[in-house]
Amino acid sequence: MSHHKVRITVNGTAGEDEVEARQLLVHYLRETRGLTGTHVGCDTSNCGACTVLLDGRTVKSCTVFTVTADGTDVLTVEGLDEHGEMSPVQQGFQACHGLQCGYCTPGMVMSATGLLLEQPDPDDDAIRDGIEGNLCRCTGYDMIVDSVRWAAAHGGAGTAATAHAEGKV
């Protein structure tokens, strides 16, 4: 298996690593960069627990080879922090009880953040469309929809995500 050098910026921190060609981005984030907030829930890109923002777009990091992310800027759930405060999306999930076990939550939060970057004021249908690729087994989704609507009304995607997206537009 061949190895390749990659330069990937994660949450504003540049990194240069040698990775195996077949390594998935989610494993790079978790194992190489030590950012375990991004989770793995399936092998088929159905569950969305591994969702991150890559150059401003939501991607399922289990469907991206690390080598193909060379030169990109990745934002994970750990990067949403705003000077010690949770981002509006994160706050919305707490205020509206949009999580239970919390396993799908980082991916769900990243998808919701990506959605609000594209559509700052989505209606319920648009929210359901936007998070359709993320499975949650605990909540039944209703309060996740409420959480995203709460976030839209309280600052949207948030400053860290907006800065990340603008850096790449």
Binding site: G41, T76, F93, Y103, C104, P106, G140
Partner: protein, 777 residues
Amino acid sequence: MGSMVGASVVRKEDPALLTGRGTFVDDIRLSGTVHMVFVRSYTAHARILSIDTTGAARLPGVLGVWTNADLEGLPASRSVPGMQRPCLAKDTVHFVGEPVAVVVATDRYLAADAAEAVLVEYEDLPVMASIAAATAEGATPIMDGLPSNVVLEQQLSATDAEAELAAAPHRLAIALVNQRCAAVPMEPTVCLADWQSSGLTIWATSQTPHHMRNEIAQMFGLSQQEVRFVAPDVGGGFGAKASFYPEFLLTAELSRRLRRPVKYVETRSENMTSMVHGRAQEHDVEVGFDDEGHLLALRVRITQDCGGWPDSTGIGLPTLTSFMSGGCYKIPTIAPSFRSVVTNTTPVGSYRGAGRPEASYMIERVVDHVAAELGIDPLDVRRRNFVQPGEMPYATQFEGIVYDEADFPGALDKLLEHVDYEALRTEQAARREDPTAPLLGIGFSTFVEMGGFGPTPLFEQFGYVGGWESANVRLNVDGSAVIKVGTSPHGQGHQTAFAQIVADQLSVPFERITLIHGDTATVQEGIGTMGSRGVPVGGSAVFKAANKVRDKAIRIAAHMLEADESDIELADGRFSVRGAPDQGVDMAEVAVRAFKPHLLPDGFDLGLDETAFHEPTNLSYPSGAHCCVVEIDRDTGKVLIRRYVAVDDCGVVINPLMAKGQIHGGVAQGIAQALIEEVTYAENGQPGAGTLVDYTVPSAKDLPRYETDHLVTPTSFNPLGAKGLGESGATAAPQAVVNAVVDAMGHLGVRTIDMPCTPQKVWRVLNAALAAHENGS
């Protein structure tokens, strides 16, 4: 400070989970960790002729490859005597996905490579992939030494109700299937074992860390103190993480052999075939009733598909189904019996509701059948048969199954305050006349289930030490409090709920209360989280421990204030003398004083640190009434849920926000069972639902908004008055949806449809009914 119990407090556990700083098992990093990967059977029933591990063992990074023969002496999982499952298949494989060998390598990618290189030669045996196949004449017995595939058979009543059925004015036979479902917690099974000379530490995705500690200690011949089992953040369980899995034992054994931490991370595809499935029951029902729909006799013959090995929890589930077969109705004669059948499929265990949803689906479908047969409203049949509030507690015919306080008719009345039933029926009639309009169906579910599991005699049957729960509450010298509790949550919000309970009892601010759970090194005793036992049993233990601390603190305060204990009041974190509010001491002062023996009454036991156990004398019985309104597209058969309304009676609600979350989640899983989910097998035992591509867990687009309300009938069976509600939604919803689907097509003579009501199935039933209707008219 107002009462915290009953307040919609946001959860303490959320910030860590929302910022990626939660600690799930795969997030734990121990230096030197190596990775275990299984070689799993690709065939459903076969004799293992040979396993060649030599090629795999030579691959880069591989530390070893083991088969059953290499693990002599490693005990099997607890099960029905004579049917204990070995960690790795011995001689024969029983289902696709059964582990036959295991590889450990320095990296999980390398371990997966090596697992691919293990060569297993099988000689195929006849596959019994369904109840029908396993019980057919001449079926091949799956279990060595057993003449048939029926591994357990029991009649739970003195009569088979034949005389009562024969005497009833009407008699109806109904066949119902509660299809096999998968729990699909978003986090699959993961474990990390580190065997040191001082003992074994194992972190694993489990709902029952203490039970697992006890099992592992016994299996390895260790003292319980030598095994530390930790369930950190757990990504959902839904009952399926209450079972004991061979990987817990294997990682431990291989860590002992390799002297390194060994980690196992299940893939989703593995999870779909190796984590226990739920439901998988077939019901042959006969019901006798009179002209008004009074139910007179019920005979239920249950056949459970228990999969390739009887799971120690799974095997007990038909008993619970039998106990609950009368639902919330007074039926003079109930005759349940069951048989459990092994098949060449994944073992069946508990899944949200575990045995009760099956009963509830059965009796609620029966009630609708009776209504249809007599041409009367399904609500009238329900009302005529309800156990009445004045008859509570209601002793069913089954010993020890006593329904606590409840108001079944009241729940239905409250539901109908939210639903304009008459208007819906009018709309339904209009739509039936308009061939371009989608059909409308209205379905009800009035249900009762079991919560607050124990008591101990019941839990002993599942191999547990007890059915109680333990809690310790300690007041620190700064006035903050720590709770240790034996329940081990996986999304239920125990940190928040239990802090609310303690905040009220000790008048300590909610923010200053911490919960420790899920680690047998810090919480000495416990049973676990399943069967809605968190608040009713765990919460009751917390309540009792907090009360003991409070009583002791009052004694100290009385001594400090030179007053009589009976005159001490506690409010807003301050003890004062009744009638003299200026005289007082605050909680922190009392906590400090608790450690100063020279300033306390003689013989005072130092510290404010109390442990309490709560043994439920009885189960609690959450109940309620749900209504589902569906629209069926005539061209595609797709069922759209237009409204879902749930009125639940879980007794006292600790946190309405979290209660709503539990109901939503349960209802979502119930709707999914009714419309979408099914684990299927081909005749050759190949799973048709091996990934999330072919087992479709619903997304946000597939589920409706939910409307919820509560009826509060506190239970007298525990000091909090709480019944639990984690399983209510999953218990109530399937039949609310299916009753609505059948109701939508009832005018065409449709009486039944099996779950899941997929568009194709509904379309077929609808078109067959239309054709028959046109031919008949």
